[in-house]
């Protein structure tokens, strides 16, 4: 089923309907990326899906799904993944909005430099942040007495720390487009800073918040490095479960089931988020 869209993109199918060779070119251009997409993304995805229906006992059945859904570990991981991702996204949105406000509207020396550092920060690998946090809060770290890095709160802290810049970047771009005349009009009409933020800046920032928030949500759902590096024993998310099943237990069908669920949740939550944020933005 995954191959079908790719097949339709092959030019020979639809080209004869449109006369002349000039109508060919758009489809021709679309063919290589579509083929690459099919080969490197859809095909492996299809393999994963197929594997998830083939239990070790042989044949094709929904047994792996039944087994996985019945297990306590899966349900726990599912819940942990979703609440961690949602909470991290919320944290990133709030923190990112506040920081972007300060960088954009509070004149201080070096604001430009900070904004530029955000870009660099985005290129850091996620485990680096966790490592840095370990040095500060870990059991052997500078403030070693805290044990919370190995709790879900530690993961939450690390994810908020790492993903906040992903929200800030679209916000900074949006704020730089904001008409300062509007802010001035608001303040001469008697509005103080908090009201200007709520009534003038926030509505203008909604599309940027939606874009940053949906990106962070999906990234958090699939985050692996941060959870692994905090070494939180009780914190098993879906990607961790996939890793555990596939590598440690050699339960490939089970791992594939969890992976499929993870993908579906990512796509589903992302879709939901877009619908909701479009409503809010309109």
């Amino acid at each position: 089923m995954a191959g079908d869209p790719a097949l339709q993109a092959v030019p020979t199918r639809s080209a004869p309907r449109n006369e002349g060779p000039r109508r060919w070119s758009p489809q021709l251009w679309a063919a290589p990326p579509a083929a690459a997409l099919a080969l490197f993304f859809l095909y492996p995805l299809a393999l994963v899906v197929r594997q998830s229906f083939q239990p070790d006992s042989g044949g094709t059945s929904v047994r792996p799904y039944a087994d996985v859904f019945a297990s306590q570990a899966f349900r726990h991981a599912l819940w942990t993944t979703v609440w961690l991702a949602v909470a991290s996204t919320a944290g990133c949105l709030v923190l990112g909005f506040l920081l972007a406000l300060v960088i954009s509207f509070v004149p201080f020396p070096g604001a430009k430099g900070v904004a530029r550092f955000i870009d660099v920060y985005l290129s850091f690998p996620s485990f680096l942040i966790t490592l840095a946090l370990l040095f500060i809060y870990g059991t052997t770290g500078i403030i070693g007495s805290f044990q919370f890095l190995t709790t879900p709160w530690g993961v939450l802290l690390a994810e908020v720390t790492y993903f906040t810049p992903f929200v800030m970047r679209p916000l900074l771009a949006a704020f730089s487009q904001l008409d300062t005349a509007q802010l001035e009009a608001a303040s001469s009409l008697g509005a103080r800073a908090p009201r200007i933020v709520r009534r003038v800046i926030l509505p203008e920032a909604l599309p940027a918040l939606a874009a940053g928030g949906s990106l962070v949500l999906v990234l958090c759902l699939n985050e692996f490095g941060i959870v692994l590096f905090t070494g939180a024993k009780g914190v098993t998310t879906l990607p961790m479960l996939v890793y555990g099943k596939a590598i440690l237990e050699s339960d490939y069908p089970g791992a594939c089931v969890v992976a499929v669920v993870n993908v579906l949740i990512s796509v589903g939550l992302y879709g939901l988020y877009r619908v909701v944020s479009r409503r809010a933005g309109a």
Binding site: D179, A181, Q182, E184, A185, A186, S187, S188, L189, G190, A191, R192, R195, R199, V200, P203, E204
Partner: protein, 353 residues
């Protein structure tokens, strides 16, 4: 409420070398419309922003109704402000835009509704209350911006080139509307920034002419137009012929011609500038005659404008549409009445406009 600039000096970014406003002294009386007129970059907007509180003077004070507001933030000054780009809030409907200032002041709900309706009625926008700004034309958006500024019942209204984004026809309509608003709100002092002399002459009780961060002249439109005190003002408030002359007994000499004009107390032998408005120059022989060569003719419908070269100086004449306009290169005579010329003691600045 009166607006007073008490030697207000503004420098952007602490750059004291180039001042944006250099020791401005100016008073707008209660209920008066003062136009700030000047070329681009002369500091008009800066002066307005100092009153609104968006720039802090490096020295001097701004007083509103006798109260020093120099250290007051913008939101506590109670000033209405209208700018060229309208600056409406795009996500709020027209009535919500107008209600913005009232909400910020925590006005009771019932009163907000009544005052919004009133402000929209006054600007003729009542029928558009439920629209978004993007669904309005430029002129309508500017009306909403004015309604929004008036809804808080400010006693000072600042307008920064409010009509310059509108086309010529709409502009003259809005000019009449602003004049009407001023009649309906006789207590509101208005400071009106423009670089369009017609707007200033039409609307203002007094005009302040600015140039290079300084106040050049201040007076009623009539004073500045009929009896300008310097060449810059003469050329900026209405076009002017500015002729370099030498003062003699009972008149001046220009390009070898003796012209009879009022010399006042300027001593004989001094060099001075003679200002003659183009529309007061006549074609043909007459008193105070100048002879020159036609260099350019512009037909402007109701009038012809002639550029006549007299001894190397271009003299402009606006004449009622000519049945037989002179040809290029033709030699013609121009004249003007003695009482239509003003002698300025200062030197010539450019050739006027």
């Amino acid at each position: 409420m009166s607006i007073r600039f008490d030697s207000v000096t503004v420098a952007y970014d602490g750059n004291v070398g180039s001042l944006a406003l250099d020791a401005l002294d100016l008073t707008v009386e209660p209920g008066e419309v003062m136009a700030l007129l000047g070329p681009s970059g002369s500091g008009k907007t800066t002066a307005l922003r100092a009153v609104a509180g968006f720039v802090r003077p490096v020295s001097g004070r701004v007083l509103l109704g006798g109260r020093d507001v120099t250290d007051l933030p913008p939101y506590r000054r109670g000033i209405g402000m209208v700018v060229q780009q309208y600056a409406l809030f795009p996500h709020l409907r027209v009535d919500e835009n107008v209600a913005f200032g009232l909400r910020a002041r925590r006005t009771p709900r019932g009163e907000i509704r009544q005052r919004v309706a009133e402000a929209l009625e006054m600007t003729g926008m009542a029928a558009y209350a439920r629209r978004y700004p993007r669904e309005l034309s430029g002129g309508q958006q500017q009306r909403v911006a004015i309604a929004r500024a008036l809804a808080i019942r400010p006693r000072v209204l600042l307008l920064d080139e409010p009509l310059s984004a509108l086309d010529a026809q709409l502009r003259s309509g809005m000019l009449a509307e602003l004049a009407r608003l001023h009649r309906e709100l006789p207590d509101v002092s208005m400071l009106y920034v423009t670089h369009d002399q017609v707007e200033a002459l039409t609307l203002a009780d007094r005009i302040a002419v600015m140039d290079k961060a300084r106040l050049r002249a201040c007076g009623t439109p009539r004073e500045l137009y009929r009896a300008p005190t310097d060449a810059f003002t003469a050329s900026f408030v209405g076009g002017a012929n500015l002729l370099p002359v030498t003062v003699g007994p009972g008149g001046v000499s220009f390009a070898g011609a003796e012209l009879k004009v009022e010399t006042g107390d300027v001593v004989a032998g001094a060099r001075a500038t003679l200002c003659v408005r183009p529309h007061l120059v006549g074609l043909g022989a007459g008193p105070n005659q100048l002879v020159g060569v036609v260099r350019e003719i512009q037909w402007r419908g109701a009038t012809h404008r002639l550029y006549v070269e007299v001894d190397g100086h271009a003299v402009m004449a606006d004449l009622r549409e000519l049945r037989d306009p002179p040809a290029h290169g033709e030699s013609v005579s121009l004249h003007f009445a003695a009482e239509d010329a003003v002698l300025l003691p200062a030197g010539v600045v450019g050739d006027g406009r």
